[in-house]
Symmetry: C2
Subunit: 567 residues, 2 copies
């Protein structure tokens, strides 16, 4: 950890018991979009708005008074919350299944208490208390997990507390020479940008969960942001880590690179709160960009689009944001934007002979116009060899403007009776066509039913020299009788397509959403029984009594053979 300039700055937060759903205003679904959706999927008229949370069942807290008192002895009475709303606010994350559970109340798992430590030292002492009192601990940052990563599972413990890191909200230090900033785990992404911005710096990490997600969560889940082509995945930015574990505090990271044995930071990154609670992260930062340019292009056909992105990646000229939609996603984007411009665009593409339009968004950010022009010219030299239709910066800026709107749009879709969820994977370039096809097929087949015609669409948002991610979104009229099972069967079919037949995975079970509960049954297939055994060995060494985030990530022996239903 680098502590060159101790600044201990923080954004003023009033977190306490209040918990609000996805930040910002909910975007209502435009009428033309709803019309298109009904025609395309068979969705019927009607609305299914969420009811008041006051009707949801929440069990009495099972936290023993002795444990509560011990926790209050560490963090103060005011930072141990037992009230219904606080507990309900930390039942889980933001997956489709989580949202459905919050609407129906079925399967809700509220923690027995919410604990809000104020310092890394307090986090360490909270763990000590929880070991002593046999209490499970679910580390809670922004609560944006879409894989069950923060579901308040108790495991075999007496009770479970949500360890909310919201008050670890400080910028600890900035080293402007080395361009390293140390941020506490509870700092939310917009606050991180604000705190760093005051020093002329940026982290450059913009996942769709940006508005709520935290530094600790990014590290614990190996997050990737929309600008990861330019700034790198979150793990690429991590210089050092500080983590509280039941066997003591662990600090890692003294140099930008090392050959001093295995890189143990890479064991903490992606550990999802099962090995310890990350309290501080030393991060590589960059000067904040002063200029940006986002542009849209249309390429004729998915194969050609993939070839463009591959060429950019392999010639190391990816734009900071590089995003390719397949035909279905392009069709949905155009349909949802609606109006006269849509008709004009369709006519123009027709005229240009584009039969299978795929939208390509490229975005550059830079310290000055010269650098931006340089990067852009290098990329466009490659792009233009694939004869794209240039849409200009309006299309690019339109994407940028809506880049964090996904969660709000999803809420609006849930309100009109839709099942909408995403999943993602990554594989090597040579396997991209087959994996794209098999996952689309699996989702489409599983979600098709009388009167229900799913839309399954995909984009590439993260590309590497050797391969890329595939991010799928499925939209289908919800099965009112079994809304959870409807999606779980589709998800299992998609996971099976990714996991491959005969024990050879075709892609990774998750490129940037992490494992949580939902991908846990599939992990052994990816890392092998030896890998699962290694995780188990590390888990037992760092968390001998198993208090940390039960039921997440770490495979149980032989779990690969279990029913892959997701819970």
């Amino acid at each position: 950890m680098c502590h060159t300039v101790a600044v201990t700055e923080a954004i003023d937060h009033t977190v306490r018991g209040s918990w609000t759903p996805a930040g910002g205003a909910r975007s209502p679904l435009p009428a033309h979009a709803l019309r298109w959706l009904r025609a395309r999927t068979g969705l019927e008229e009607g609305s299914t708005p969420a009811g008041p949370s006051s009707v949801l069942p929440v069990a009495e807290s099972a936290l023993p008074e002795s444990a509560r008192a011990a926790l209050a002895g560490v963090v103060d009475d005011a930072n141990v919350l037992l009230d219904r709303d606080s507990r309900l606010g930390r039942t889980g994350g933001l997956s489709y299944v989580d949202l459905i559970r919050r609407r129906s109340g079925a399967g809700l798992a509220a923690p027995d208490a919410v604990v809000l430590p104020e310092t890394p030292a307090q986090v360490q002492r909270v763990l000590d208390v929880c070991v002593e009192h046999d209490i499970a601990v679910v580390p809670f940052g922004g609560g944006t997990s879409v894989v069950g990563g923060v579901t308040a599972l108790r495991g075999d413990k007496r009770a479970v507390v949500a360890l909310d890191l919201a008050q670890l909200d400080r910028l600890v230090s900035v080293d402007p020479v080395s361009r390293i900033a140390v941020l506490q785990a509870g700092v939310r992404a917009p606050d991180a940008e604000r705190l760093l911005g005051a020093h002329g710096l940026t982290l450059g990490h913009f996942p769709q969960s940006f508005e709520r997600a935290t530094i600790g969560g990014f590290a614990a889940t190996r997050s990737a942001g929309q600008a990861s082509s330019g700034y790198g995945r979150f793990e690429d930015m991590v210089e050092g880590l500080r983590m509280a574990t039941p066997v003591g505090e662990w600090r890692l990271g003294v140099a930008p690179a090392s050959a001093a044995g295995p890189d143990l930071r890479q064991l903490v990154l992606g550990s999802e709160g099962t090995l310890g609670v990350i309290t501080e992260v030393a991060l590589r930062v960059r000067p904040a960009p002063t200029v940006r340019r986002y542009e849209g292009f249309v390429v004729d056909g998915w194969e050609r689009g993939v070839a463009v992105v591959r060429a950019l990646a392999q010639q190391r000229e990816l734009a900071d944001v590089t995003r390719l939609s397949d035909m279905d996603e392009t069709e949905v984007s155009v349909a949802l934007s609606g109006g006269l411009k849509t008709k004009a665009l369709r006519a123009y593409l027709n005229l240009r002979g584009v039969d299978r339009p795929c939208l390509l968004v490229l975005g550059w950010e830079a310290e000055d116009g010269r650098e931006l022009a340089w990067k852009r010219a290098a990329a466009l030299r490659i792009v233009h060899t694939f004869s794209p239709v240039t849409l200009g910066s309006t299309a690019g800026e339109s994407w940028r403007h809506n880049r964090f709107a996904g969660p709000r749009q999803r809420d609006a879709l849930l309100d009109v009776g839709v099942c909408v969820e995403t999943l993602e994977t990554a594989t090597h370039w040579s396997a991209i066509p087959a994996l794209w096809s098999s996952v689309r097929g699996a989702l489409t087949d599983a979600l098709t039913a009388p009167g229900r015609r799913p839309v399954v669409m995909c984009h590439i948002s993260h590309a590497y020299e050797t391969g890329a991610s595939l991010y799928f979104t499925a939209i289908v009229p919800r099965d009112p009788d079994d809304p959870v099972g409807q999606w779980q069967r589709a998800k299992a079919a998609a996971c099976q397509a990714i996991a491959g037949a005969g024990g050879t995975p075709v892609g990774t079970i998750t490129h940037h959403h992490a494992v949580g509960t939902d991908h846990r049954p599939w992990l052994s297939g990816e890392i092998g029984e030896v890998g699962a055994s290694v995780l188990d060995a590390v888990k037992r060494r760092l968390d001998p009594t198993g208090i940390l985030n039960p039921g997440k990530l770490i495979p149980t022996p032989g779990q690969a053979d279990q029913d892959p239903q997701i819970g």
Copy 2:
């Protein structure tokens, strides 16, 4: 692992029992260099050539006949070598202490046998036999470790075998679309380039050990090459790994990036044969360059030189090779090149008012002249803001020509009574000046004695946005009475400077030489007692009986407090 195109190509080798010292011809020390060295260091006249290896003491093999027979049952009789020369050839690596031991015979540890498996499956079965017969296993690739990584230590086992991977020498597959090649662990770097070159590809990994080192060794030690600024460190190239362990075979790597839990590949990379034997590595490859340009510059002063490299790194415009020598290393380079050109250069620098010349070598390699010109222009725009003296391509090409000559020069220096050794570290930019100064001071103080004036010099050869490596070379007249202790005391002093006071490391104990026996006492200080405990847990899970490479890497509990003497 990617097996798209099975090619199973191999370079024809005749390895068997024959083992030769450092490849290529030994470069004798020019007369002017020797004169300079004597004047500068106090080195006396005389030569100390290595004696014949036939006089070295080698104990009888302790391998039980039952174990030998079982091993021969796996790999065939001809691949279990018990003869003196074969065993002597795998006693250890190429550190200064290793070389001195091979000259004196003192402290030599010959393995009891050399085993040469031909396939990954045979490697797995050899481990099974060694577990059953309680035999220690030292995986042996190019034998170029400079940290005791391949010393044939027996630990608490009945005997020790060197598991030489020379016959795992195949290019298993090439996926030209994904740009991934699978190479077996025993492929030497020049052969890897030859095998890949036939497909128009390159790995781009050129450490000084290039002529002998192997793919498996690179992976096991987190190697960094001279062109790592352009091609990345070896671990950056690794897509997948196949490793034999005592509990079964482990395969990792299905995608370019993943959020499926911790990146376990990063636990295999740097494991130095203590957790398993790497048998195959899937590597990102690139088109072989067709053009290159290497240039020399002189910057006035180390601080300014560091600033140049930092600017290049932080603006992400490092040349593929970026290498800055400090004043002492520059002086030695100039002195050793000798002749009229040296005088002319000194006069020219004088004229230009350069008081403290620091040599900067920048090298670019590219697929075509346009790409090279583009990269070079971007870098030079930055370099020229620091007012360097341009030496042109002669100086750059001169460095490139001699880039692998270090080991041979070292042999020549040993022959004239010199102690010469290197060590390296890395830290963040803000700590570079203090660490450079403290390590130089530690080495200089420890090696200075009546009649012995050390030359301690340093270069930066690997730079990152947040910091850089520091690579030190020390040259001093050898202490004939205690040649090993002379260096070990200096090394310990340097390691202490790196490890810092009060438990806060200033840099990493090794940036690219790995841990082996030599850095093992310092590892706990860097990764913490929790980190050491995690390594121990993984070791016990994968190698429950402890047959794999005893005495290397994995710290023993409380070792941080032990006497930091090395060897």
